[in-house]
Point group: C2
Chain length 295, copies 2
């Protein structure tokens, strides 16, 4: 019964989010090719875990999750821009994402770069359009998002990841990469949900810590799945990290060690949730989902 | 004597701006290679015409131009990101800019893309850091900047420019490209200066119209210089537009027609300045400078 609560919540807000993404891009007064390239990657699906994390955090405070809609759309646009740029030939050089050709394979490198630039820029604009959110709160959200997405966050993580290619990394270096490349944007989602709900700074920081643990758990699970997962569920060959000489948790800690660390991160995430003092049932479910997901 | 007024104003605020750019990047907690790549292009010099336009607009209202510092730094970062991405091999494929190797020639394509992404992101963050500016005003600035820089503005202009390559464009198409690729970000600078000074919507729109005329004048002068300028002052070969099959004003209107249109744009820009009703002496000088510059 618990599981179905998150399911129906996810379905409702995923739908709302995807509608907002489409509407926002469609109403732009811009060359059609760039709108098409933006939508191609926005509509590639995916778990929409960042928006859901944000919505579920707002819900935890008993607020209407809709309040987070524009910020959730902003995060998804910025996440999508990062995938488009990361897939480029000069970066990770990926031809496929979620079983479809990557953006630059369809629109060419130049328009893929520009579609990414446009999504990043539009993300910030969307937050300014939030309904029922005061200007002080919007500024706080924009500032947090810029830090999470820029050189001190996601971009810095991608830089460290590229610098570390074909090297054996220490556990500390691996955590730096994950915390920056994916952790900080995930943390932004929980932080934004708490800010939008008027939480105190102390509670906001608990949500940040929760989401950073969740982010690491997500990455460790990713590494485990890459070795133990089923190819058809993953949508990519099993063992591709090893093939690509990527540092992983199982490689550094052994498979048992990685599973143990995953458990510890999940426990720490849940302890932080408990400490927030609000109704985090959906977020606990989301955390369990991350720990046990098979794709 | 008039000329020296703009000169001393320019010198003072160029210095202040460049100091802010350096400080902002240096204080980031990010991998050193990305900070270095960001600074490499930020410190490549240039006329800093966008920041100066913003500072001079604030000055026109009798306000302290310093009030515009963070917004001016934001615009310069976003302008710089656009140059880095436009120079990439998959875009304009330029090896040199202002006589120095382009960013990707020094740091490689991947870090050049990431340095651009980081500058764009940081631009929005900087506005949130403005001193003595209320949250409502910051939100308005961020919204205007995102529209000017994104798919409805600069990115859209670059898309149209790439779509129009090797084609004979109509005057209307050429104006669309210039208005979007450079005009809207210039217009943002004048608009931002007016917003920061508490101008009425009516006056703000006069500043926008002024800067759009100034932007077209700037481009027409560029096209004329490409044919009549002196190579050593331009820092690129004379006639390179023709060589690159670029549509230009002289090609569409004849050289005399282009010069006539330049005059008309300058007149229109000055008429708009007069209509604002504030002390636009510095901006008039700046406009004359655009009309007569030799590089």
């Amino acid at each position: 019964m618990e599981q179905s609560l998150l399911n129906s919540f996810s379905e409702k807000y995923k739908e709302l989010l995807e509608q907002q993404l489409r509407t926002s891009v469609n109403e732009m007064n811009a060359p059609s090719i760039i709108k098409e390239a933006m939508l191609y990657s926005l509509e590639a699906g995916g778990k929409r875990i960042r928006p859901l994390l944000l919505f579920a955090t707002v819900d935890a405070f008993g607020e209407q999750a809709e309040k987070g809609l524009m910020t959730a759309a902003a995060v998804e646009m910025i996440h999508t821009y990062s995938l488009i740029h990361d897939d480029l030939p000069s970066m990770d050089n990926d031809d496929l994402r979620r079983g479809r050709p990557t953006n630059h394979k369809v629109y060419g490198d130049a328009f893929a770069i520009l579609a990414g630039d446009a999504l990043l820029t539009y993300g910030f604009q969307l937050i300014t359009d939030s309904k029922n959110v005061d200007a002080e709160t919007k500024i706080r959200l924009i500032r947090e998002l810029a830090i999470a997405a820029g050189a001190e966050g996601m971009v810095g993580g991608q830089v460290a990841d590229m610098n570390g290619e074909n090297q054996v990394l220490s556990l500390e270096e691996l955590e730096y990469i994950h915390n920056h490349k994916t952790g900080k944007l995930l943390a932004f989602c929980a932080v934004a949900g708490a800010i939008l709900s008027g939480a105190s700074d102390e509670v906001i920081e608990k949500f940040r810590a929760f989401a950073l643990h969740l982010g690491l758990a997500f990455q460790i699970r990713d590494d485990i799945l890459d070795l133990e997962g089923q190819e058809e569920k993953l949508g990519k060959p099993v063992g591709s990290d090893e093939h690509n000489h990527k540092s992983t948790y199982p490689a550094l800690l052994t498979m048992d060690g990685a599973k143990h660390t995953l458990e510890k991160e999940i426990e720490a995430a849940k302890a932080m949730l408990k400490a927030t003092g609000v109704n985090t049932r959906l977020l606990e479910e989301l955390t369990d989902l991350v720990a046990t997901r098979d794709h």
